[in-house]
Symmetry: C2
Subunit: 402 residues, 2 copies
Amino acid sequence: MRPADTRHKLSRRQLLSSATGLGAAALLPRNASAQQPPEASNELGLPARPYGFRSPFEKDVVRLVDSGSGRTPLQDLQGIITPSALHYEILHFGMPIINPAHHELLIDGLVERPLIFTMKDLERMPAVSRIHFLECAGNSWREQVGNPGNTPEESHGLLSCTEWTGVPLAVLLEQTGLKPSARWILAEGADVGRLARSLPVEKALDDIIVAYAQNGEALRPEQGYPVRLIVPGWEGNVNVKWLHRLEVLDQPAMTAWETGHYTDLLPSGKARQFTFVMEAKSVIVRPAGGQRLDGSGVYELTGLAWSGRGKISGVEVTVDGGRSWQKAELQEPIHTKAFTRFRWTWNWSGVETTIASRCTDETGYRQPTREQIIAARGLNATDHYNGIKWWRVRTDGQITHA
Amino acid sequence: MRPADTRHKLSRRQLLSSATGLGAAALLPRNASAQQPPEASNELGLPARPYGFRSPFEKDVVRLVDSGSGRTPLQDLQGIITPSALHYEILHFGMPIINPAHHELLIDGLVERPLIFTMKDLERMPAVSRIHFLECAGNSWREQVGNPGNTPEESHGLLSCTEWTGVPLAVLLEQTGLKPSARWILAEGADVGRLARSLPVEKALDDIIVAYAQNGEALRPEQGYPVRLIVPGWEGNVNVKWLHRLEVLDQPAMTAWETGHYTDLLPSGKARQFTFVMEAKSVIVRPAGGQRLDGSGVYELTGLAWSGRGKISGVEVTVDGGRSWQKAELQEPIHTKAFTRFRWTWNWSGVETTIASRCTDETGYRQPTREQIIAARGLNATDHYNGIKWWRVRTDGQITHA
């Protein structure tokens, strides 16, 4: 900001108010030389539109895409809601475009009454809306091998948070009934690869949602339009998209996605399997890698914290390489299994330093260090890495991975 | 929904699991004749995209636009977050497209230090994110003259709710300082008409936000890109868009927008002025006018409640013309000055009836009836109508304004 030179302004509103005869202009300084704030428009603007789009000046805020994935530009976003158009996506078999008028959900297997639900059936059933994060199991795993990307998007961008709406899976299972031997539910997508994952019945009866809407409107195609599972707090891959079948089983189906993939190889050579929960984690997104501070002074330091086990109870930040930790302010209200935005005001002196955040969830679990994770699990597992993330701030203001 | 014929399915996953050699397929019924649920894809889908868009099957979910406004299709939306592309818009002078690199905010008048803030200045200052509704003062006013539209969009569509991010105005005023005589702040937009409104300093120091983001990303152009006021709970018009000047005054400026417009004419011939607060209000959006129930049976009844004075504390619904009222379920957590989604499961017997909702906020204020409003204020005021909204359900399932 800079001081305003109040001698050089003429308010067009002053003229307008004078014209109303109400005398308000008399309250205001009267200056002769005209200087409007820049960029004030002097012509009539564009008309209303049925479906809005972004300012052309925002065109560079995009997902970082490769053939099968798109990463959320966390460093460019605010608050806790990710816009649907920037929600991360992983497309193992590309994105099918499905006609909802023909799409159906079959529930069969160990149920009393196998049923088929059309989208219209689902939409007239009791619904819930909840704000939840989604995170890919492999998000930020390259941190542990010391080769992360240089920006929050590159290191942590397989991560987003939106408001999901749909029918609790428990409501659908009430309709079908469960046989006494029911223990697992296999969820299968209608993508060409029929991606399928097994989930315990207890989770299905707890908080899984058969979701058809995101941030108020229908799911986007890459998010599973017209219907997907939302499995709050659990790794992204089990949130099966383009959902067309739920089969109730007495044990897991052992699909390729829970045997060959999405298991965590330990140093012993054994692999952890069905490690669904995304444990508490946090990351500073501004100031962060790829950004540059414009000299010493006051900056807002902000980031995101989340836990697959419930609410975030606290976030601490350090701006001196971990010698001291300060309590960050948390955005209220805090939602369960959702982003919690944290903020802290940093007066940077201009010296080189490293900065980081660490969070605690309502179960008392505290985000571990990279060293703790490697000591416990080695370096082979590529999923469920949730270590503290460091950024290095150099004296010229440039920020990099630390 | 309908019973599934379990004899006619072949699970591709069964085949895949068999191939893994893990024996899971043995757990499953083995049926020879193949019948996939419809619409399962048999070809590779589309690749990831930098910025997503909707399914082509959703193209009819749009704002209802005329030259200067766009109404939110409330009946098509879920949860409490309105997608930015469907947020209501009122464009008194059209929508300017502003370059944020050149846009500045001037704060002057009765301040100690007049200051100019660039967008970069604003973005490095301490921010807040809050979910708040916005409602046009005139939303649903035609209810009182018995000539509302026939759908929730037509009757109540100048109404939306999103997550806003920006700097508390109090933080900016701390920088400029206020002179002892400061009582009002005139906010002026950079649109060609320089729309300007006066706001009390107390509100500015309470919860007004100088907002630059909505639902995580930058404001949309029609919402004031790059910066606007968010004045929580107060009529839409004072949430000045394309904000480029705040002038601190010792009394209101009496602009055209607070004298000729946005005042409430009473039967006495006097007009109420500066009636900023949007009082508690609710509306059922499904089932609602323009929709048709597909025969008797169970339906989810859902709608929205909101109050400019704080949190919604309760919503009741009637499905028998007001003879009995039932407590609806409220979506948690409840945010202050924001949409609260309510839901109730209705088993419709097929008889003609009228349905409505009424809400109460945390101050104890209860949404009034149309008759109470008319008795108190007459029929001339076109703003701040918040009466109970009735829909008529006919025996053929058609629903109309009641």
